[in-house]
Amino acid sequence: MAEILNNIEELVGKDEKLIDIWGRRNPRFEKKYEQSVLRVISDYGIGASENTGAKGKVLGAGYEPYIIAFFIGLYSNKKLPLSDSSENLKVLGQPIDKWGNLDSKKFRHAYSGLRSYIFIALVAKTDIDWIALDKGDIKVNSVVTNLIETMEEYANYGFSILEEKLKEDPSYFFSHRSFLDIFLQLTNNKSGDLTQDEGPEEL
């Protein structure tokens, strides 16, 4: 009898989407990037603030540089494993399902949909025995953990790139085109339609 009663959670779990389970997680990053990247280009550590622009910061919450870093890793198709020691790691303050809910911020609009695309990318890029998951042979949580790990490794690579750029030129990201240009270049391989006029702006 007790077993049946215990199933009550299991039934709820069955209706829940994988993306929601994933969304409750807070990904980790290497602590060193907090000072060298996150605080430089975002309001990370400042708390709720609506005045990003006034402080000369390009990005708002800490997850924004995280997303940027992730996509850099994704489009570069390069992952960088995080440090083994948890002492060197930090967890982002906001769980994924809060990312992009910007409606309270002035001059910004929400991009909550972007989360699904990140999720899609993780599914595409992570080796998981999905049949086993559906069969119940492996736990949802371990799958989600795998997805998160992929995300962290992509982001970790991205952060290393951002840090490098900042080391070369501390004011690198004050140009309004710097981030855009990174992505235009990273994704240029196929399109090849970048004309001279649209090339990276000279500083």
Binding site: K14, K17, L18, I19, V58, L59, E64, I67, I68, F71, L74, Y75, G100, L102, F107, R108, H109, A110, Y111, G113, L114, S116, Y117, I120, A121, V123, A124, K125, W130, I131, L133, D134, K135, G136, V140, V143, F173, H176, R177, S178, F179, L180, F183, L184, L186, T187, K190, S191, D193, L194, T195, D197, E198
Partner: protein, 708 residues
């Protein structure tokens, strides 16, 4: 009046006694900055002050002299002028005593201001105030000029009146005017008295007198209003004239400002269309998905394969489970009665008919055989009952792949949008670049307009932008006010004519009534006196005009001399409606030159002064010297030499304090001997006595040397 000598004692930088022996002609007092030029001028100003103000002031005392004094010692400040006037030699002398106390304080006392006349051996001392008889304070305005800006004597509101009264014969009319008024009154009165005797016409006379009284009153009201309105119109006219020059500039400025405003608006509109928050767009507009098509494809392939596999596995499973079930069912279905047993129907018949149709033996109900048959039937029927859908265990516990599959459908729908992103981004960049170019173009135009504005403002002598704009606003207002006043003047003049006619008529009628009576002679007398009075009035006007023309003519002669090789225009002396005069420079097309250059202004105003001086001496009235403090600072060297040459030939006493004729040598100002040679007249050099302490006023002393 000719000044022979000026003595200055202990007056500021003039330490102890100093004197200038002047000649009747050009006198030049040359000094550099701080050498005592202005002090010389101010000493005379102090001496000429007859209003009793500024008598004694310790500030006037020579600092050097004060410092030199021992305690309880004293000395005098004294300025004196010896002059010849109407063949008499007089000395105007102002002085006061000053004493240094033990604690170094300086006190003043014993002020005196005297006019001393030497008559033979007798020496008559009179109050210095009497100097006003020799050089009236009004005329002093035409004798002493400080700097170039001071030269326009007509800036003084009653200068013209003064001039006319002093130099024309108009003054002589004044006495007659008073008499005429008196005589007219008397004659009218005599006529009235005589007519009172005319009983027959009493009422008519009374009525006419009332009419005359009324018309006279109305006429004087009208005259007053005409004068006011003429004043008003004159004021607005001069206001309009004063901005005549700037009118064009005002218009241009307004047009430029309007264009600048339009351009600025356009600029901010274009600027507002520029959105270069590219980093924000990466997130907010999900531009970051620009390279996502590959990932999406990877996902699609992966998920559809997974899904396929998932379904295949499930189908296989279901198939397996289904076979087992089918077999079971089949097994149940395939449990037929043994061959030797008849069908269910037959069996039921046998039971009902209580006979075994197989063996042909009867089988009574409830007999052993019947019971056997019943049992077999029940057994068979029982075997037909297959358990109702036994539950099949699902193959999958979770539907996550289904979730992924569903998302893939939406993703496929969105794929075209994702592939378009890159194009959209490049378009946005191109658009922003175009807008930047647009802004650059607008900026270039704005710069041009700002340059234009600068040019306009730089070329409107000292007027600020606000003033120019205000002028423009004012123009229409002033034009309107002026024409209003002029219209009113027209109306008033018509009214005046009517009332004059009515007055004349009444006076005529009154005269006619007097005809043949004893009043007739008085009436005629009154009429004649009135006519004479009118004649005087018009003679006065003519006289004044003649004087102004004379001044004009003389002025232009001087202007010709002073400005021989340069543009000069023509001097006109205008009388404004309010009686104020104005010396102006006209172009040959009879338009006024509002802004002559400073040198031209100086020469034309000086020409007017010389003209006034010349006229006065010609009429053997007050001949007076002219004293200028630095009048030629705007002149070029050549013009200056020419100017002094002309002045030295004027046959007029002119005293000019100047720093001209000095040239720089080894950092020091020295006299330009060659130039001095050219000038006819007396030349003094004043300079600071050397050595002096450049931090200590008490070491400063002006020394005078006569050069020629």
């Amino acid at each position: 009046m000719i000044i022979q000598k000026i003595e200055i004692e202990n007056f500021r930088s003039y330490y102890k006694q100093n004197s200038f022996e002047l000649t009747n002609g050009l006198n030049l007092i040359i000094g550099s900055n701080g050498d005592g030029k202005t002090t010389f001028y101010e000493a005379l100003e102090w001496l000429f002050r007859t209003d009793g103000t500024n008598r004694m002031d310790t500030k006037l005392i020579s600092k050097k002299r004060i410092e030199e004094l021992f305690a309880n010692e004293s000395d005098d400040v004294r300025v004196a002028m010896t002059y010849e006037h109407k063949s008499k030699t007089k000395i105007l002398e102002k002085r006061f005593h000053f004493t240094k106390s033990f604690d170094g304080e300086v006190s003043t006392s014993n002020y005196s201001f005297n006019l001393i006349e030497n008559s033979g051996i007798e020496r008559i001392v009179k109050d210095g105030v009497r100097f006003d008889f020799d050089l009236p304070s009004e005329i002093r305005k035409y004798t002493m000029f400080k700097g170039e800006s001071d030269l326009d004597v007509f800036q003084n509101s009653n200068a013209l009146k003064m001039l006319v009264e002093t130099f024309s014969d108009v003054k002589d009319f004044e006495a007659y005017f008073a008499f005429m008024e008196y005589a007219t009154k008397k004659a009218d009165q005599a006529r009235d008295n005589a007519q009172k005797l005319d009983k027959k016409n009493t009422d008519r006379i009374k009525q006419l007198n009332r009419t005359i009284e009324f018309e006279t009153g109305t006429l004087s009201d009208i005259e007053r209003e005409i004068k006011n309105k003429e004043n008003e119109a004159g004021n607005f006219d001069s206001l309009l004239k004063s901005i005549e020059q700037s009118k064009e500039a005002s218009k241009l400025l307004i047009a430029v400002n309007r264009r600048i405003e339009t351009l600025s608006q356009k600029r901010s509109q274009v600027q507002a269309r520029i959105n270069e928050d590219y980093t924000i767009s990466l997130l907010d507009d999900m531009w970051i998905l620009m390279g996502f098509a590959d990932v999406a494809e990877e996902y699609s392939i992966k998920v559809s394969e997974m899904d396929k596999q998932r379904r295949k596995l499930e189908r296989n499973y279901l198939l397996t489970v289904g076979q087992e079930k089918a077999i079971k069912k089949m097994q149940t279905d395939f449990v037929p009665l043994p061959v030797h047993i008849p069908g269910q129907k037959v069996m039921q018949e046998m039971l009902d008919e209580e006979v075994c149709k197989i063996c042909g033996r009867p089988a009574k109900k409830h007999s052993e055989a019947w019971e056997f048959m019943l049992h077999r039937l029940e057994e068979y029927q029982e075997s037909l009952k297959v358990p109702e859908d036994e539950e099949i265990t699902p193959y999958y516990m979770n539907n996550y792949i289904v979730e992924l599959q569903k998302r893939d459908t939406t993703l496929n729908d969105n794929l075209s949008e994702i592939t378009r992103l890159r194009h959209k981004i490049l378009e946005a960049i191109a658009f922003n670049n175009r807008m930047h170019d647009e802004v650059k173009k607008i900026d270039a135009n704005l710069n041009m307009e700002f340059e234009q504005k600068k040019r306009i403002l730089a070329q409107t002598d000292g007027l600020t932008e606000e003033q120019l704009l205000a002028n423009y606003e004012n123009i229409s207002n002033w034009v309107e006010q002026k024409s209003k006043a002029e219209n009113r003047i027209d109306i008033l003049k018509r009214q005046r004519a009517q009332h004059r006619a009515a007055l004349d008529e009444a006076q005529d009628a009154l005269g006619k009534l007097a005809e043949g009576t004893s009043a007739a002679i008085f009436a005629k007398t009154a009429l004649i006196i009135r006519q004479i009075s009118e004649a005087f009035k018009s003679a006065k006007e003519t006289n004044k005009k003649r004087l102004l023309h004379a001044i004009e003519d003389e002025s232009n002669v001087f202007l010709e001399k002073l400005n021989s090789n340069d543009f000069k225009g023509t001097i006109r002396i205008l009388e404004k409606a309010n009686g104020q005069g104005e010396a102006v420079l006209m172009n040959n097309d009879n338009t006024r030159i509002f802004t002559p250059n400073t040198a031209l202004r100086t020469t034309y105003l000086m020409s007017v002064l010389f003209a006034i001086g010349k006229l006065s001496s010609e009429r053997d009235k007050t001949e007076f010297p002219l004293l200028f403090d630095a009048p030629t600072s705007s002149f070029t060297d050549a013009k200056e030499s020419e100017f002094f040459n002309v002045i030295s030939k004027l046959k007029k006493q002119v005293i000019i304090v100047t720093k001209s004729f000095l040239k720089e040598r080894n950092g020091e100002a020295v006299l330009d001997q060659a130039k001095i040679e050219e000038v006819k007249g007396r030349v003094f050099r004043i300079e600071k006595k050397k050595p002096f302490d450049d931090k200590k006023l008490g070491t400063i002393q002006t020394v005078i040397s006569k050069i020629k």
